[in-house]
Amino acid sequence: MGDAAKKLPRIEINPKLCKGCSICVDFCPTNVLEMRGTCVAVKDLAACTRCQLCDLRCPDFAIQVFD
């Protein structure tokens, strides 16, 4: 299988729970996320390595990465 067919992860963001602290954006090692107003958003899904740091350090149960 080539890179083109590489399965992308699914990043679930709950805007009702995100308080906009930007911890996930700041600590993402591959710059996947960005702040849009007061809520996090995915900027570059392909860069995601599924390391889960965003989920682990999110204080608000607002973001999870699924394979």
């Binding site: 602290c21 989920d55 204080p59």
Partner: protein, 287 residues
């Protein structure tokens, strides 16, 4: 068994927190960037590793920001009075030694108003795990200095800088007799999960001092730019793992707090002693 190279890619299986969260209680009351939510998640993952029935877990807290934790989690939960969580928990544990009793408390709750209960719980070595959420401030009441506020830090009651030296929670727990003492941070979240798990597995009083950030009060008053800045400066750069400390030059260790399991010994646990030495003797005497 060898794993094919492509499978070594991290496979993301996010933790299902809903298994332990009470439905409809989120969002929690904590401010944006507050570390308590990160610690709560590590706690839930650690409890999950125990593989015990939720009916047999009791989470007790006192008063303060961190003490709101029990309201969110689907166990037997008790939100008590300021400083008294460990005493309520002692009653529950003694009445029901089969239950896993966890106390969630803040630095002010555990060490100031509840300081006496803290040291005596450690002394008894009753099988309770105390998770001390140390944000070095009274958040719920608006940012007053606490027993762990560093010297010269600004708080709403130390506008000219704090002149009271802070407690070292771990040193105090150890000196008072706790048989498992550890420190973690919200930044080192996987390490924290493991530390809490070890504390929960330990028989006796276990204390985990957890450094986490209060960006709203401590952060703003002490010129931290953001929650992230606090986590990097205080939790990442302000601590050093007990496993690395011997390998580092002194200048890299100076002024930093030790992280990891700092003290672990075996000593008879209170409820077991009660059953063995008190109840058995009393019953033999009455025969």
């Amino acid at each position: 068994m060898s794993v094919p190279a492509e499978k070594k890619e991290k496979i993301s299986v996010p933790f299902d927190y809903n298994k332990y969260l009470r439905p409809g209680k989120l969002p929690h009351i904590w401010c944006p960037g507050c570390g308590h939510g990160i610690v709560l998640k590590a706690m839930l993952r650690a409890i999950d590793k125990l593989g015990i029935d939720k009916d047999n877990v009791c989470v007790v807290s006192g008063i303060g920001c961190s003490s709101r934790t029990p309201g969110y989690v689907d166990f037997n939960t008790l939100h008590t009075l300021h400083g008294r969580a460990l005493s309520f928990a002692t009653g529950i544990k003694l009445a029901r030694p089969d239950m896993k009793v966890i106390v969630v408390t803040g630095d002010g709750d555990a060490l100031a108003i509840g300081g006496n209960h803290f040291i005596h719980t450690c002394r008894r070595n009753i099988d309770i795990t105390a998770l001390v959420f140390t944000n070095a401030i009274y958040g719920m009441t608006g940012g007053q200095y606490s027993p762990t506020t560093p010297l010269e830090s600004i708080a709403t009651t130390s506008r000219y800088g704090n002149i009271e030296p802070p407690f070292d929670t771990c040193e105090m727990a150890k000196a008072a007799g706790a048989t498992f003492v550890a420190r973690g941070t919200a930044y080192h979240t996987l390490e924290l999960e493991k530390t809490i798990y070890e504390a929960l597995m330990h028989k006796g009083t276990s204390v985990v001092d957890i450094i986490d950030a209060c960006p709203t009060y401590f952060g703003r008053m002490n010129k931290y730019k953001s929650a992230t800045h606090m986590m990097e400066a205080m939790e990442k750069d302000g601590t050093v793992s007990v496993k690395q400390v011997d390998k580092l030059p002194p200048e890299k260790v100076a002024g930093k707090m030790l992280r990891g399991v700092l003290h672990k010994i075996d000593r008879p646990e209170y409820c077991e002693q009660y059953a063995l030495l008190v109840q058995e003797k009393a019953q033999a005497k009455s025969k």
